[in-house]
């Protein structure tokens, strides 16, 4: 390879191919934080199938559209009928669309971490400057960001639509801001739960099924119990039961602190004291997901 092979040039043609041999790299090496950011952006793009095959773009893009279309329709209706208010609160939108959000996290969390485990790419990452914590942080942040994009985009559609429909600016801005905080918390929680479950199995199919199962079964069980509690007039316990599923947890937090109307039976959200417990549980769960991921990857290593 070190020998030069000049291609015989055609008369008047100055083009030659030279094998220039090995060149050393003496440019900058940007280190750990740059590598972590690269992993973050690669994972975030991957969550929407960018930089991957056409096939893997279909589902995330489809879910994104499904998330936004109802918002667009609501805006169209509000503008056309000159309504005084949007048909749905900003904070309520994600709760209504929770099936789509669950489907998204179930499909993309395994895509993000199970692939690296299944194809044993993880050792290649850890043989480079980044540490376990950098990997976990990049993956967690990437999926949470992807989910935030998914859940915040329809809110943006609603907000822009509301302004176009000349609804009250201050009112709408406050609702929009509350909605954004709520979906940010939801993104962190769902991404954490999804990644923890997905990081246990290298099989993508198992990961998808397990995430869907955890999210829907917990929600189904909690809302059934809440309905029973409501029917038996023990409304005091409704709020406490709501702590046990991710969706009702978010619902509780936002109805206690973010001016949302609760989706609990009888619309009885938690009181402020109970709300504080909700916030603690929510933050505790997010921290626990992070801690579990760290523990998991400390073991995977090489």
């Amino acid at each position: 390879m070190a020998i030069e092979h000049p291609v015989a040039p055609a008369p008047g043609d100055q083009t030659r191919i030279h094998n220039i041999g090995y060149r050393n790299y003496d440019g900058p090496r940007l280190g750990r934080s740059y590598a972590t950011r690269s992993l973050y952006s690669q994972s975030l793009r991957g969550s929407y199938g960018l930089g991957r095959s056409v096939k893997s773009k279909v589902l995330p893009m489809l879910l994104f559209v499904v998330m936004c279309v109802p918002a667009a329709i609501m805006v169209a209706v509000a503008v056309a009928t000159k309504a005084k208010d949007l048909p749905v609160d900003y904070t309520r939108y994600a709760i209504i669309m929770q099936a789509v959000i669950s489907l998204y996290v179930a499909s993309q969390a395994p895509q993000s971490v199970s692939r690296d485990l299944r194809f044993k790419t993880v050792p290649l990452y850890f043989s480079r400057p980044i540490e376990t914590a950098d990997y976990v942080r990049a993956k967690y942040a990437a999926l949470a960001s992807a989910m935030f994009i998914l859940t915040a985009a329809p809110l943006l559609v609603l907000y822009v639509g509301a302004l176009l429909a000349k609804l009250d600016f201050a009112d709408q801005t406050e609702g929009f801001a509350q909605g954004l905080v709520s979906v940010a918390l939801l993104s962190l929680l769902f991404a954490g739960i999804g990644l923890v479950i997905a990081s246990i199995t290298p099989r993508r199919g198992f990961g998808i099924a397990a995430v869907i199962a955890v999210l829907t079964i917990s929600y189904g069980a909690v809302s059934t119990l809440q309905a029973i509690a409501d029917a038996q007039d023990s409304s005091g316990s409704i709020a406490w039961i709501g702590l046990f599923s991710p969706v009702t947890l978010i619902d509780g937090v936002q109805s206690a602190f973010l001016g949302a109307e609760s989706a609990f039976p009888g619309a009885v959200g938690p009181s402020n004291g109970e709300g504080a417990v909700y916030v603690l549980v929510l933050l505790g769960l997010i921290a626990a997901c992070y801690g579990l991921l760290m523990r998991r990857y400390r073991k995977v290593g090489l």
Binding site: M1, A2, I3, G21, Y22, R23, N24, Y25, G27, P28, R29, L30, G31, R32, Y34, A35, S38, L39, Q42, G51, R52, S53, S56, R115, D116, F119, K120, T121, P123, L124, Y125, F126, S127, R128, P129, I130, E131, G301, L302
Partner: protein
């Protein structure tokens, strides 16, 4: 070898290579046959230790993976030999700063593995033994990503990826998804991701695993070039001794986490050198082989029975070289008899023979112990 001028030029063109380097031998052989092929370009630094361990131990609750291993590895291609479970992978993990040693210390490129892990991993490449490639991305995309994970800026990552993939021998296929590659091509991608950030040292864990003989040869040639052309030191593990003999300057043998032996490949294989000679017949000497054998006997050179009962082997004389003068003796005899020298080559002892000998010695020791 009565041409001192030739020797001086040869030696001075081999800056930094010990006279025991096998490439000196190969050059000398080529010169003997009047061929003047280019001397392998060697970029090594004298007196630099690439890897140094000092009574390095790693104990797991049930097994001792490394047991007071002390070894120094210089620049060049170094083979790490050992059976499965001998502690090779554990050693690489410790050297990458990913797993703390139970006791002892180790340095890679002068950096302590316990405290400077990240700095080491920036300068070192690692090619794992197992499959590690996602099937649904192209080699280019994958290696670019890995280059960025090593800290290369985006533009440099793309440029280095194109260069490195070309050097490992991947051309148009690098744009296709890795899933459709053959084992040989996958091994090349794995090697490319270890080299893409231009490390000073690469750890190659069983790089020839699963390759056919041709692929194996190509991979071994590539490994040799990583050092000779790219100037990167290599630590390569294998359980096939013949491979290491052909590629490595130095061989480290571990067994049960203990250092069994660490010496240069030439020490392993050239403690005694056997020469194989083949001569032509002429009208005056219808049986050239026999005449030369008699002449060698007369000059006191021991001729071995090299026939081994193989047909045609009778034309080849095997003799023990007692230093450089033996070459001259052979040349003079053949020239005086007016015969043609068809071949004169070194028959190396194989590392495996050394191992067998070591093994038997150890068994004896164990036997005596009982």
């Amino acid at each position: 070898m009565d041409n001192p001028a030739l020797w001086i030029t040869l030696r001075s063109s081999q800056v930094g290579v010990s006279p025991k380097d096998p490439y000196i031998w190969s050059v000398r052989r080529r010169q003997l046959f009047g061929l003047t092929t280019g001397v392998a370009q060697v970029t090594t630094f004298l007196n630099v230790t690439v890897i140094a361990t000092e009574s390095l131990s790693k104990r797991f609750p049930r097994v001792t993976a490394l047991d007071r291993l002390s070894v120094d590895v210089g620049p060049g291609v170094t083979g790490l030999v050992g059976a499965n479970g001998a502690g090779k992978s554990t050693l690489i993990k410790i050297l990458l700063g990913l797993s703390p040693a139970t006791e002892g210390r180790a340095e890679v490129l002068g950096l302590d593995v316990a405290t400077k892990g990240a700095a080491i991993r920036e300068r070192v490449g690692y090619m794992p033994e197992h499959d590690c490639l996602p099937p649904d991305v192209s080699a280019t995309e994958f290696v670019v990503h890995m280059a960025r994970m090593s800290g290369l800026p985006p533009a440099a990552a793309r440029e280095r990826t194109a260069d490195t993939l070309r050097h490992v021998g991947l051309y148009e296929e690098r744009y296709r998804p890795i899933g459709g590659y053959s084992t040989g091509m996958k091994q090349r991608v794995k090697l490319a991701q270890a080299l893409v950030h231009d490390p000073q040292l690469v750890f190659l864990d069983e790089p020839t695993n699963g390759l056919d003989p041709v692929g194996r040869d190509e991979m071994l040639g590539l490994i040799r070039r990583i050092h000779t052309d790219f100037g990167i030191s290599v630590l390569v593990t294998s359980h096939l001794l013949g491979e290491l003999e052909r590629t490595c300057d130095h061989v480290v043998v571990v067994d049960g986490g203990k250092l069994l032996r660490s010496s240069s490949t030439t020490d392993f294989t050239q403690t005694t050198t056997t020469l194989a000679i083949e001569v032509t017949d002429s009208d005056t000497h219808p049986d050239g082989t026999r005449v030369v054998r008699d002449a060698l006997h007369a000059r006191g050179v021991e001729v071995l029975d090299g026939s081994n009962g193989l047909p045609g082997a009778g034309h080849i004389l095997l003799l023990t070289a007692q230093g450089e003068e033996t070459y001259d003796v052979v040349r003079d005899i053949v020239a005086d008899l007016g015969l043609g020298l068809v071949r004169m080559e070194q028959r190396r002892h194989h590392i495996s023979e050394v191992f067998t000998a070591e093994d038997e010695k150890r068994k004896e020791v164990v036997g005596h112990g009982n």
